[in-house]
């Protein structure tokens, strides 16, 4: 048999074959690589919650596994971060104009913004940094950005411990009001997760985004009143600019945290409808981010 001819499959004896599509429909076969419907996808993500949890733990422990001090850096990184910002903005540039209790004001701003910043930067690489896993195993890809957002939520829990210590060391006294930090963090976590999902899709398609995002995030930080009071700086700005600054979600989450922890930061310092706007941002960005990520589900890991 030196000149082979195509022969029929042994398992398929000659008979009038139904078309491939008919056969597929009869046996409930689906087009390969098709995206599941949104409801099923959500259920699938929920079914993978143990994977999300384990992946988040693994990533968190791997992060500092090559450093001698290991997970001590979970406390050390925010502390050093706070020290650097205090040195530059508190001592050198003195942006503390019109701000009482500048140290807790600044440190709260830095920590809360870092929470969003780190989540977005992790999200950008959620798909592009895990192609091996994506190509090897099948699971809902949204698990990855969600897990990386969970890593940052857990880091934020540690950071909050550091923050509370700093806030108390600067003379604030613990009170029931501090519990408002919890809803503020919850809203910000949902907001961050939505952002991580959206940027995971963008980062999967645009490989240069990972290089660009640190600059975008830094710009956003400078516009968010981390190291200065928006109310003081923008006192004479046009009303439209004022409204835009007040709608900035990062500034909102920062101000809500300051409102919860710092005595001299009162409801009068909050933008109007702060809780409502912060909730709306969280819900809208989470839903939009999830749907946006899901829309490209079948394309992740493809060449």
């Amino acid at each position: 048999m030196s000149t082979p001819e195509p022969s029929a499959a042994a398992a398929a004896p000659p008979r009038p074959e139904p078309s491939a599509a008919e056969l597929a429909a009869r046996y409930g076969l689906k087009a390969s690589g098709a995206r599941p419907r949104l409801g099923r996808y959500l259920a699938d993500v929920w079914r993978h919650r143990h994977f999300i949890d384990a992946f988040a733990r693994a990533r968190a422990s791997a992060k500092y596994s090559r450093a001698n001090l290991g997970r001590l850096w979970e406390v050390g990184t925010p502390l050093l971060n706070a020290a650097v910002y205090y040195l530059i903005f508190g001592l050198l540039l003195q942006t503390d104009r019109g701000v009482e209790d500048f140290v807790p004001f600044l440190v709260t701003g830095v920590f809360v913004f870092t929470f969003t910043q780190a989540t977005v930067l992790a999200g950008v690489r959620a798909v592009s940094g895990n192609l091996g896993l994506i190509r090897a195993l099948h699971f809902p890809r949204a698990s990855l950005p969600i897990a990386l957002a969970v890593v940052q939520v857990r880091q934020m829990a540690v950071t909050m411990g550091v923050l509370l210590v700093i806030v108390m060391a600067t003379g604030q006294v613990p009170q029931w009001n501090w519990l408002l930090a919890l809803p503020a963090l919850l809203l910000q976590s949902l907001f961050n997760t939505g952002l991580a999902l959206a940027f995971a899709r963008l980062g999967a398609k645009v490989s240069d985004l990972a290089q660009l995002m640190p600059f975008v995030m830094r710009t956003w930080m400078y516009a968010s009143g981390v190291m200065y009071s928006i109310a003081v700086m923008a006192a004479h700005a046009p009303a439209a600019v004022r409204v835009l600054l007040d709608l900035n979600p990062a500034a909102l989450y920062i101000d809500l945290m300051r409102f919860a922890l710092i005595d001299s930061f009162t409801a009068a310092d909050l933008p109007p409808y702060a809780w409502g706007t912060a909730s709306a941002w969280a819900a809208a960005v989470l839903v939009a981010g999830f749907v946006y990520f899901w829309k490209a589900e079948e394309s992740y890991g493809r060449d």
């Binding site: 048999m1 599509a21 390969s32 143990h50 895990n130 090897a136």
Partner: protein, 276 residues
């Protein structure tokens, strides 16, 4: 599952009873006139081409700027059924791996369709898991990613490690996967993927990396999967392993289907054509 569906009235008397969904013989993968075209970006690739060229590409947003098209699979059609182990053979670059990736849904078809029962799992040599994590963590994460419950993972963990043979020469499972040899990593990946029953399992050369004892274990596992009425595809350059593990073989050359039939016959014909 529901009872067998009535076969077509014109079915020849010799035809076996048509299999119902889920039974051995029911189709699990239907490849219908499949064409796959790769677009390879400019010879310098994604990162290179010099800054200016890359910038120009990015700005003009021309997807195919300088891209070459490689028509890797050309009009392949076949139907795979439950209980079959199908070997894919052909020379290097004949489109075997591309076909597997298309069946797995990782490459979009240019035209034609691939229908599958459930989500096929592709097991390739290059499919790295998480290199900075220990083998232990990779096993747990891999199983959870495949949708197992934590209790099930605990139950199967020892079996997976034994199957992979990673701990045969000391406690390697607690070391990061980046310290593994390529053979060890491939064995662990196969052991993880094989821990679950798959409707369709696609194996790309993964077995070639193991030693004899591991090969024997994996051949046994492939047989088990077939007996549980799954379908296994195997790409291998070892004609012997195709003969030993597969009952059917598909021969591809330049992206076209040359021959499809019982493994022995197809491998004979392939060997005859490459003998000179």
């Amino acid at each position: 599952m529901a009872a067998t569906e009535g076969s077509t009235a014109t079915a020849s008397p010799a035809a076996p009873r048509e299999a119902g969904p889920g039974e051995p013989g029911a189709p699990t993968v239907i490849v219908d006139d499949l064409h796959v075209v790769y677009r390879v970006r400019g010879a310098a690739g994604r990162a290179g081409g010099g800054g200016p060229a890359a910038l120009l590409r990015a700005l003009t947003r021309r997807k195919g700027a300088g891209a070459r098209e490689v028509h890797a699979v050309r009009g392949v059609s076949f139907t795979a059924r439950r209980g079959e182990a199908i070997g894919l053979i052909g020379s290097n670059g004949s489109g075997k791996s591309t076909l597997l990736r298309a069946i797995a849904g990782l490459l979009p078809p240019e035209s034609g369709r691939v229908y599958t029962d459930g989500q096929p799992s592709l097991l390739g040599v290059n499919a790295a898991l998480m290199n900075d994590l220990s083998g232990e963590r990779n096993v747990v994460l891999g199983c959870l990613a495949m949708g197992m419950a934590p209790a099930e993972v605990r139950e199967r963990y020892d079996g997976i490690v034994d199957f992979s043979g990673i701990n045969d020469k000391g406690d390697f499972i607690s070391l990061p996967m980046r310290t593994y040899s390529s053979g060890m990593a491939a064995r662990l990946r196969f052991a993880i993927a094989a821990a679950r029953d798959h409707d369709v399992l696609l194996i790309d050369e993964a077995l070639a990396t193991g030693d004899r004892a591991f090969r024997r274990r994996s051949e046994k596992r492939i047989k088990e999967l077939r007996e549980k009425a799954g379908t296994v595809f195997l790409v291998s350059h070892s004609n012997k392993s195709i003969r030993d593990t597969c009952d059917r073989a598909v021969w591809l050359e330049r992206g076209e289907l040359v021959m499809d039939g019982p493994a022995g016959e197809v491998v004979d014909a392939y060997e005859a054509s490459t003998a000179d």
